[in-house]
Amino acid sequence: MTILRPPVSMFAEALERKFGSAVSRSAEDLYLIEQPEILPSICEFVFWELECPFAGLIVEESEQWELYYVFLLPNCGWANFLLRLPLTTRNVPSISSRVHAADWYEREAEDLFGLYFEEHPRLGDFILHDQVWQEGIAPMRKGFDAAAMHFEKRPQRDWRPTLVVRDPGAFAMPVGPVYEGGAGESIHFLLETVGEDVIRAVPRLFYNYRGVEKIAEGKSVDGVLLLSERFSAKSAFAHSLGYCLAVEEICGVGVPSRAAHLRVLLAELERLRHHAGVIDAICQSTGLSVSEAHAAIIEEQLLRASCEFTGHRYLFGLNTPGGLRRDFENGAVKVLLAAVDAASTQLARLEERLRFSSSFLDRLEDVGIVSPESSRDLNLVGPVGRASGLRRDLRRSLPYCGYGQYEFDVPSEIEGDGYARLRVLFAEARQSARLIHQASERLESGPVCAGLETTAGTAMGAVEAPIGAALHWVRLDHQGRIERYRILSPSFRNWLGLHVAVEDFAFQDFPIILATFGLSAAECDR
């Protein structure tokens, strides 16, 4: 299937017609913004008129502030809008009121860099929690020493959440950060209500913030590879792949064909296992224990198959810039295929049974609805976005590792409720099994790793992680060390959209809606 790609020049022309010389194109995908005050109008135009999803904000500190506003052009790559400001300024115009998806990115930059986004309605207490840190600490600034443990901390001991719902009988239900009887990640939810329905839901994340982007600075390429694998284990392979793609692009290295196909095979194995895990969590949240047990067995069998194939249950230690660290025998691939087939059969059987369990469907259908409009507004990605009609997939729009040669569908639904998300998960798991088979047929003998000489440069590695589009921005200096590592993770984007699904639904639906989103706090927090 050929995809019609609108040329990048059309995008540039549209910008020039609208804004004239206020925006100048300095490279293939880089546009300079000459006047800061025009930034919100440009972002609004690109997001709403040209329909380009907002992929994130990257802040860099060099001789001046460099703020990259990254937009994804449909089917033809990137557009980075670069705003340069002198280091002495703190004030940046906010785009959140026009591009809602930028809300959390601006709050993050405010907390970590000490920038101030004018007219942003809610800054402070985001990553650095107020009851632990005082205002004014900016850990991502170059002058901040990550290893320094002993600096004065003056937390606000009397921190209280801001409540919005004011009504007789209104109260807020705090949940977390240590809350789940199973093994939940550390998140705090503030659910405001006047009785039965959740009126306002505010997730408070970043309990798991480990400063991955900060401690990566100054490390070697290999040292950061370990970090990229270990900050979010449930999609470790996808994230290390994104990092490796970025480094490979900087160094101009082509990956051998065998390694590319093996990467597809392993990435899809991870997606299959991840989706089985999310399906397990959905069954658990509805209390249908037999289906939960069956889904848990499928997931555990896939973990074991991964371990038997690669030596590690979560696929650590495989990717390396230039290819893969080791090769696999064809016999081992056959064993893996058998396990994948068994898991697919089991999943199909489970799906068939769940489809005819009315008590189960009652908990999912018309619950936690995200409309296509709000999912576009908040830029949701992955299965959550695709269940709300956003048929976006980086494997299709910006194929990497040879995904362009593979035959697969991008499943999508329009309803945007919990059941639509479950159907998308099952359908994607089927496509992953199909891709694993195709990858195994394409394996030719040959090397799996190309030599790599590091050079200075910047690049973006983009992969479709199990949760959605993950972007890894890497800047290498002349010594081959990491100068800036920025992870734009899919969970970060989807957490922003959770409140849309939760609000106006009853309390008892909350755990179910949360499970159907299948989010990871570790991936969001970094």
Binding site: L128, V132, W133, F144, D145, A146, A147, M149, F151, P177, V178, Y179, E180, G181, G182, A183, G184, E185, S186, Y207, N208, Y209, R210, G211, K214, L226, L227, R230, F231, S232, A233, K234, A236, G277, L288, V290, A293, H294, A296, I297, E300, R304, C307, E308, G311, H312, R313, Y314, F316, G317, R326, R353, L354, F356, S357, S358, S520, A521, A522, E523
Partner: protein, 239 residues
């Protein structure tokens, strides 16, 4: 309408028989590197130099492995000078020699705290509840409240934002109580180390009773740790 109880019964019992019988199913554990003898001191030094976190040290023509800092990248397993590799999972290590009283041996309630975990260790603890491991059969249960918890299982390097909630959870637990550090991050900070945001392991915040190395430790390694802390099994002697 699906008849779930029938589907459940038809699958029969799937649980492992560990610890009554050894479990040797493929893929239950990534195994661990063992101290290895090499032909020459130079070869040993080469084998040690491959480790990205310095967990391997060469002593003469022998290498020692520090599982407390190992991140299971497997470079010493599949590289040029491979180390010996044990595919078992019984490697949890007692730090304090205090066992819980006998009354807890078959009724133990666990409180899990995610203190900056990447999701792997947490997920492996969660797997203990699936039918293949089914820790209920041994009298181990997860609990949602620290008031009824006997053992605190901490995963992750203790991020600065989680330090407070972790200490509060510990303080809310009744005595006697024990603390398990599960995973390399919880033991030594792992790849995150000791920084402004990571305390570099549970040991710098709370008294740890048992360490379960692994990145992540497989479910049966955690189960072995629980059996050790209740005095039903012995800890690994050499690490």
């Amino acid at each position: 309408m699906s008849f779930w109880p029938w589907h459940g019964l038809r699958r029969g019992i799937q649980s492992t028989r560990y610890p009554d019988a050894p479990d040797t199913a493929a893929g239950i554990s990534p195994g661990r590197p063992l101290p290895t003898e090499f032909a020459s001191a130079q070869q040993a030094a080469e084998a040690a130099s491959i480790c990205p976190v310095g967990a391997i040290t060469a002593v003469g023509n022998r290498v020692e492995v520090d599982l407390r800092t190992c991140v299971w990248c497997q470079r010493c397993r599949f590289g040029a000078n491979p180390l010996r590799w044990d595919l078992g999972f019984e490697w949890s290590r007692s730090v304090s020699d205090s066992r819980l009283p006998g009354a807890f041996a078959r009724s133990l309630h666990l409180m899990i705290v995610d203190a900056g975990d990447c999701g792997a260790c947490l997920h492996e603890v969660k797997q203990l509840n699936n039918p293949l491991y089914n820790m209920h059969r041994l009298g181990f249960f997860l609990t949602a409240t620290p008031r009824s918890a006997d053992v605190l299982v901490v995963v992750g390097p203790v991020s600065e934002n989680m330090r407070g909630p972790l200490l509060k959870t510990y303080d809310a637990m009744p005595d006697p109580k024990r603390v398990l550090a599960a995973g390399t991050c919880a033991i030594s900070g792992g790849v995150f180390g000791r920084t402004f945001m990571s305390a570099g392991g549970v040991g710098s915040v709370l008294p740890v009773d048992l360490e379960i190395p692994g990145d992540p430790p497989p479910p049966l390694a955690i189960l072995h740790g629980l059996l050790v802390v209740t005095g039903r099994m012995h800890a690994a002697e050499v690490l």
